[in-house]
């Protein structure tokens, strides 16, 4: 089952595929230029010591994004196990 969630819900090690952005145009464009476009696979790599920002693996590059932004990026991912 595939569900739509926001990027910030991914935990380190989990993967998803970019679906859409609900961010200001310039920020969206900037992220897109770094390779985050619809259909691209992302993997949550690790978080900073304060839990935010988080580093994501995108097309072989590691990109750090604040949760303020990742909250507004939707992704498709395999439905997570409910019991965690």
């Amino acid at each position: 089952m595939i569900e739509q969630v926001s990027l910030n819900t991914l935990k380190p090690g989990e993967k998803g595929r970019i679906c859409g952005f609900s961010l200001a145009e310039d920020i969206t464009r900037r992220l897109q230029d770094m390779g985050l476009v619809r259909g691209v696979n992302v993997e949550c790599a690790y978080r900073s010591p304060f839990g935010d920002p988080t580093a994501y693996l995108v097309k072989g590059a590691v990109i750090a994004i604040r949760s303020k932004e990742s909250k507004k990026i939707t992704i498709y991912c395999e439905e997570k196990e409910k019991w965690d």
């Binding site: 961010l23 200001a24 310039d26 920020i27 464009r29 900037r30 992220l31 897109q32 230029d33 770094m34 390779g35 476009v37 619809r38 259909g39 691209v40 790599a45 690790y46 978080r47 900073s48 010591p49 304060f50 839990g51 935010d52 920002p53 580093a55 693996l57 995108v58 097309k59 072989g60 590059a61 590691v62 990109i63 750090a64 994004i65 604040r66 303020k68 932004e69």
Partner: protein, 635 residues
């Protein structure tokens, strides 16, 4: 722009890029590419120049040019700041876009990171829409090979229809092939502009890059990237990140303090022996006594102090810092600290510009161009001075070793000193946060903008190269700058000390004038005067101070460096004086070059004044509180 001879101090203020051809038929080549793919390394390999390199995105913020000849032809190489696309987002990316699209370059060399080729092609495709005179340079092939990434360059060349060259610029592999490819592209056919076409969406380029790479790139070891994670788990881990940051800082200072001890001693003894000889020589040569005094006891002595006390720590700190920079640790520091900056409504990339400030505040301020939001950029510019630059470390080190390490000796003393110095840096960083927050609450109101920072793979720094380069480049540069600032300061001090108005020397007159105010701040008039005269270069503050005390005649014999403390205590110094001097050194007006850079970067005297006044006011307040509280406690 990183820290090298050409990017610190007055050179941080870059001029408009003017292409300098030597011959009419020289080929102008632009080196473009994503941030941190090794453009500067390729540039250096081709031109033999030493454009500063470092492992973090945004190091090059202004274009640099160099000239090289190969096979009888001349090439003007232009190292353009890195960018992710030709749609500019920040000042430094604008520089890149404008130049690539300007039709000035005859050939564009698009440099890519072999380890991240598909993402890099995104930009290559955009460049190809502007010009067909492109050579694709797939750099870092050595690193890709280590990561078991296999790239079929011939197939990529066929698909892109422009030459594709694999290089490992660090070890000069493939550089000659670039020349040949440039030449082929240039002589083939000058089809410079491509017909206007519709604007594509970012998705288009990503999809296109994906298609191009299908079958070209093979990952033999898909898990390799995860090896970096292991390091990152430690360097950015919840419980380990900050202790490691502090330990790294302390380690660097410990090495600096320990390493500087002996050369300082040696230089001091040597240079003061020379002073004696010089003086004897002047007497023998019949130089009039006034000139003899001015030049030997004024100018020469201050220069000698600068060289012996200030130079060794700077010469050691700098290569160490460069090693850290090359390793890829700095972006992790920015990653760790971002939350704090977000809380202060500032940008996490400010951590990078702050780190640059350790080397040189002027370079740090020029580096602020990597910050996209103008508001956050101004915050970073104004607060940059709260981290002490290379020129202020020695002042802090001198104060610490004389007044705070106490009876400890040897390794214990230098460890204690390093811990002290690191704590002062932490204080500077905390002040950066505080002032950033205050600014964003008052004159620079606004909400934090976005933050997206690429964390590059860790790279092993080329230790030998770094040390040789930074010692030769930097040491000679610092020496020159310090001498240029110190020599006139020495003359001024001597004249102030020897010209009398009535019965009082001008120097006493001035320091007495400043004294009441300075005493409130826990210092004395001479110290404040030294800070004022130190405006051209922070390196000369301590030497000017010592000179002024000597000129006042309380102590003339200076046999060894241990005499420093005697000079100071004889003039009423206590640990409170030292503490306040350190605090004021950390927080006072930026040096003249930094101020000029701020004017250049902000284009406004108003913000330059703010950058002058804010740290000064902070320093005055904190010194006042410290001095008064300490005074009360000591009673």
């Amino acid at each position: 722009m990183g820290l090298s001879k050409d990017s610190v101090g007055i050179h941080a203020i870059d001029e408009e890029l003017v292409i300098k051809k030597k011959k009419e038929n020289d080929i102008i080549v632009a080196l473009a590419g994503n941030p941190n793919v090794g453009k500067s390394t390729v540039f250096n390999a081709m031109t033999g120049l030493r454009q500063h390199t470092g492992n973090w995105p945004g190091k090059t913020v202004a274009s640099a040019q160099g000239y090289c000849a190969y096979d009888g032809k001349g090439y003007v190489m232009v190292d353009v700041p890195g960018c992710y696309s030709l749609m500019a987002h920040s000042a430094e990316e604008e520089v890149a876009r404008d130049f690539i699209c300007s039709k000035i370059p005859d050939v564009v060399v698009a440099v890519c990171d072999a380890g991240c080729l598909e993402r890099n092609l995104n930009l290559v495709l955009q460049i190809l829409e502007k010009t067909k005179n492109v050579v694709v340079c797939v750099n870092l092939m050595d690193e890709a090979a280590k990561r078991k990434i296999d790239i079929d360059l011939a197939e990529l060349e066929k698909r892109l229809e422009v030459p594709v060259i694999g290089t490992a610029a660090r070890s000069n592999v493939g550089i000659n092939d670039i020349y040949m490819a440039i030449n082929n592209v240039y002589t083939k056919e000058r089809e410079m502009t491509v017909s206007e076409q519709e604007v594509h969406t970012p998705e288009y380029y990503v999809k296109r890059a994906e298609e191009l790479c299908r079958g070209v790139i093979r990952f033999a070891d898909a898990e390799y990237a995860k090896k970096d994670y292991k390091k990152d788990r430690i360097f950015t881990g919840k419980y380990t990140a900050f202790p490691i940051m502090f330990l790294l800082l302390m380690g660097v200072f410990w090495l600096t303090i320990t390493g500087a001890n002996y050369p300082s001693e040696l230089l001091h003894t040597g240079l003061f022996k020379v002073e004696e000889r010089l003086f004897q020589f002047c007497i023998w040569a019949g130089v009039p006594s006034v000139i003899r005094e001015v030049f030997v006891h004024g100018m020469y002595r201050v220069v000698a102090w600068v060289v012996s006390v200030m130079l060794p720590p700077m010469a050691i700190f700098f290569p160490l810092f460069t090693l850290l920079e090359d390793s890829g640790y700095l972006p992790r520091a920015a990653f760790n600290l971002d939350k704090c900056f977000e809380k202060c409504h500032a940008c996490g990339k400010q951590a990078l510009t702050m780190c640059m400030g350790f080397g040189c505040n002027a370079a740090g301020i020029a580096g602020c161009r990597i910050i996209n939001s103008p508001r956050e950029r101004l915050i970073a510019v104004i607060t940059n001075n709260f981290v002490p630059c290379n020129g202020r470390f020695p002042t802090l080190i001198v104060m610490i070793t004389m007044f705070f390490v106490g009876s400890a000796t040897g390794a214990e003393a230098s460890l204690l000193g390093a811990a002290f110095l690191s704590s002062i840096i932490v204080l500077g960083v905390l002040m950066t946060f505080l002032v950033s927050r205050l600014l964003s609450l008052t004159i620079l109101k606004g909400i934090p903008s976005s933050f997206a920072l690429e964390l590059p793979p860790y790279r092993r720094p080329q230790i030998g190269k770094v040390i040789v380069r930074s010692i030769f480049d930097r040491t000679i540069f610092v020496l020159g700058r310090a001498v240029v600032a110190a020599a006139p300061a020495g003359i001024i001090i001597w004249i102030f000390a020897n010209i009398k108005i009535g019965d009082v020397a001008v120097l006493s007159y001035l320091s007495d004038f400043l004294d009441p105010f300075a005493t409130l701040l826990g210092m004395d008039g001479v110290i404040l005067l030294a800070f004022i005269l130190g405006l051209p270069a922070n390196e000369i503050v301590v030497p000017v101070m010592l000179m002024a005390y000597l000129a006042k005649g309380s102590l003339v014999e200076i046999n060894d460096i241990g005499a420093l403390k005697e000079i100071l205590t004889a003039n009423g110094w206590t640990w409170i004086t030292a503490a306040c001097t350190m605090l004021f050194s950390l927080m006072h007006w930026p040096c003249a070059t930094t101020l000029l850079t701020i004017k250049k970067e902000t284009g406004s005297w108003k913000w330059t004044f703010a950058a002058f006044a804010i740290p000064t006011v902070a320093g005055i307040l904190i010194c006042f509180v410290t001095a008064q509280t300490a005074g009360l406690l000591m009673k």
